[in-house]
Symmetry: C2
Subunit: 468 residues, 2 copies
């Protein structure tokens, strides 16, 4: 079989033995099973040939892009890893049409750089953008810090090309904003974590780059008050809020402990700290006035001053220059380090309706008070999306306690109409939560679809669905 | 069987004979087959009971909402029509969370009115909004005149509840902006035209109502120039363009012929007439200045003045009051009448990439020049979406000629990366186009999904898929 693959792909693109090491662990370096081989297709036809062979021989296949997944979707024990890294071309940028056509292995940061030359952005930004690839971002419907303004990855994609488990290529590379021609297979494959097909290329949407940003740290009495702040800012700026991030007191303190030279956001400590950023795409909001003031920043300051007058906010600091803005973002982007500062810890990716976040946090506080009153809540949230990365440091070294706090918090989120998986996906790690919480009718339909499209179960087996 | 249905639904909700007449024709009154019965469920449980019975007895079922479909998706010869009209409640409006929870039979205009009380909009606007229901809008992924700013129906929906062909209810009524928990069944059911399940309820997104609108008619040399105008306006207003509609010279002239008291948009006639509207959601753009000028309107005027100076536009008229704005919208919304002014005529719902519209129109002009040089092009387009409703009046009474012009235009659109069905869906009328143009791999996958979820083929048979 490997000989056949070498014929198809070239010997250099069929890795075995030690060469597979980088593909046998997750992004953190933790081992996650030994593949049978690592295959490096150079074209869609290569991917189709691999899947035909796999399907005939019933060989499991695990697609892999940048391998920055947080839920184990790329674990590949006994499977062929299909690495998309060679299919990394940005085939076309059409500035006037506001689209780019990219291959699945194109790295996000490379896409960002390429479109920046046209004063455009592809607004999918998250910490791993230097290695994450668009194919993986699509397969997991990645989120990040700009979802509030631009949507999730699925909202940024007009078309895809993908190979189904039988090797059939589906070409849905439409560059269209409207295309009602049958079932939306694009949306079915996006977020399916490589269990229904391998995405090989995509048409993505581009947007004008903001001409100026205004960033601030704001303290409010309670998280529930923050929604009013968000709605007010959206209203006053005409929907220009592009980040709205929550950090509690313990997060701020852990960050200070951990980070040399870090400064607190305010002179006083506050329980509820919000980082807000508005972006100006219109020149009149971005061009400095006679006093050198940038209108969008002046506008943000005046809204915050009004809210302070009204007693709706406790404190606010607007970044006066790019250095101060960077400092705010670095504090937020340190989340991966802050939330793993202590081990063991709770780490869950939760969503609740935006207007129920306070209720959810009250319930989490109660869960902590019941199980481990001294535990610290270091959660961080894309608050504008209702997406909380629940982080808790217990007072004792107790994995079971962490598990229990996390499970009860998930239960509470689901009971409020929320989700146990907001943006990180299911992989294999969250299959128990999937089994516990997902609507049974929906689970049955997913199973039916998986079995119909992949009757031999070759594509990323053991992922997403708890029992297939 | 009907007795069993009367037991479940109550006798008054099982219509037969003459009572079925309103359900046996399309919106225009044209007959489209005689149903076996018309069933009027009052709850999701009713819908589930109906589908269980239908599945056991292999009875075809056609879901029907407002019945304003343009492609025959509700034709119900020999089937049970399931009318969603009784399930018309707006269950909840949550202004702070910017969502509403509605039943499938809620009429769009009623939703509009209900949310307007909270200064919010549900931005799905099209001509039939007074009778179209949200369930049908979701099932067809309806478009309309505000897609440019707010997206298609699928983009306006956070969650759905639906009943599958076997009577299983899937509850995906999430009020979430992020929920990566398995395959996106919501997007699969949206746009499936009732062939995979019956949508019974939905969570929909709401937006702040614009505080002021500025509307203008603009003439540009060629359609290709209009994209530059659009991008420039988006840039200058920070993405506030909410309608960008194209009408050619023959459309304007037909409208004048047809409509008593109608006035031309400009003193001179132009080939390319664009109606543009920008909406201000921020108070600073909407509150009149000392001279009584509304900033968003002043801003639109100044952008247009600059473009006129540059020679990028030929003429422009900004509406000075609501009456003038109404006049502009009425001209555009008369499309259904204008485009059927003459019979026979070509009428196709086409999409092309926005930056290829000029190329497409050049090809259409060539097709007309080849086949019927005197024919008039009365097309109208949601130009910002790349969505053209192709309308052509031939010089002679010749159905075959119309068919041929339409087919060649569809071929041209598809060859440019476009679609033969932008927003009207497939129903039964466009199944030949589906067979001719849709990617074979995608067709095969759709067939597999349909057969897996609806093995007895009871749900809206003969629609969407050409051969099932």
């Amino acid at each position: 079989m490997l000989d056949r693959l070498r014929e198809i792909l070239g010997a250099a693109n069929v890795l075995t033995g030690k060469d597979m090491d980088p593909f046998a662990c997750d992004w953190s370096g933790a081992p996650q099973g030994t593949p049978l081989a690592v295959l490096r297709p150079g074209s869609t036809a290569d991917v189709a040939a691999i899947l035909k062979l796999a399907n005939e021989s019933r060989t499991p296949v695990v697609p892999m892009s940048g391998n920055t997944c947080l839920s184990g979707a790329t674990a590949a024990e006994g499977a062929w890893v299909v690495s998309m890294a060679r299919m990394n071309k940005i085939r076309e940028i059409r500035p006037t049409g506001r689209i780019a056509i990219v291959e699945a292995g194109a790295i996000l940061a490379n896409i960002h750089d390429a479109v920046a030359e046209h004063d455009l952005i592809f607004p999918l930004f998250f910490g791993a953008r230097g290695s994450a690839m668009i194919g993986g971002a699509l397969s997991t419907n990645a989120g990040g810090s700009n979802v509030l303004r631009y949507g999730n990855t699925r909202d940024l994609c007009l078309g895809i090309e993908a190979v189904l488990p039988d090797g059939e290529v589906i070409d849905l590379m439409r560059q269209l904003h409207k295309d009602n021609s049958g079932y939306d297979l694009r949306h079915l494959l996006i977020g399916a974590e490589g269990t229904l097909g391998i995405i090989t290329a995509a048409v993505i949407k581009l947007f004008p780059a903001p001409l100026a940003n205004a960033t601030a740290m704001v303290a409010v009495p309670r998280v529930g008050d923050a929604l009013e702040l968000l709605n007010r800012l959206q209203q006053e700026t005409g929907g220009a809020v592009q980040a709205f991030e929550y950090m509690p007191r313990a997060y701020i303190e852990t960050h200070l402990l951990q980070t040399k030279d870090a400064r607190p956001p305010f002179d006083e400590r506050h329980d509820v700290n919000i980082m807000v950023e508005v972006g100006a795409t219109a020149p009149r909001d971005a061009v400095p006035d006679a006093n050198g003031q940038i209108p969008i920043a002046a506008h943000l300051e005046s809204v915050l001053a009004d809210l302070f007058e009204e007693g709706a906010i406790l404190d606010a600091v607007v970044a006066q220059n790019e250095t101060q803005r960077r400092e705010m973002w670095e504090r937020r982007e340190a989340a991966a380090q802050v939330m793993t500062y202590q081990t063991p810890h709770v780490d869950r990716d939760i969503a609740v309706p935006v207007d129920r976040m306070q209720e959810f946090l009250d319930q989490v506080a109660q869960i902590i008070a019941d199980l481990d009153p001294g535990a610290q809540d270091v959660s961080v949230a894309h608050l504008g999306d209702g997406n909380l990365h629940l982080g808790v440091f217990p007072t004792r070294d107790d994995e079971d306690l962490c598990q229990r706090i996390g499970d009860l918090a998930e239960d509470a989120a689901v009971a409020l109409g929320g989700s146990f998986s907001a943006e990180h996906g299911i992989g294999w790690r969250k299959r128990p939560a999937m089994a516990r919480h997902k609507n049974p009718g929906a689970m049955a339909a997913m199973r039916t679809i998986k079995t119909a499209l992949d009757p031999n179960g070759i594509l990323n087996p053991g992922k997403v669905l708890p029992d297939i």
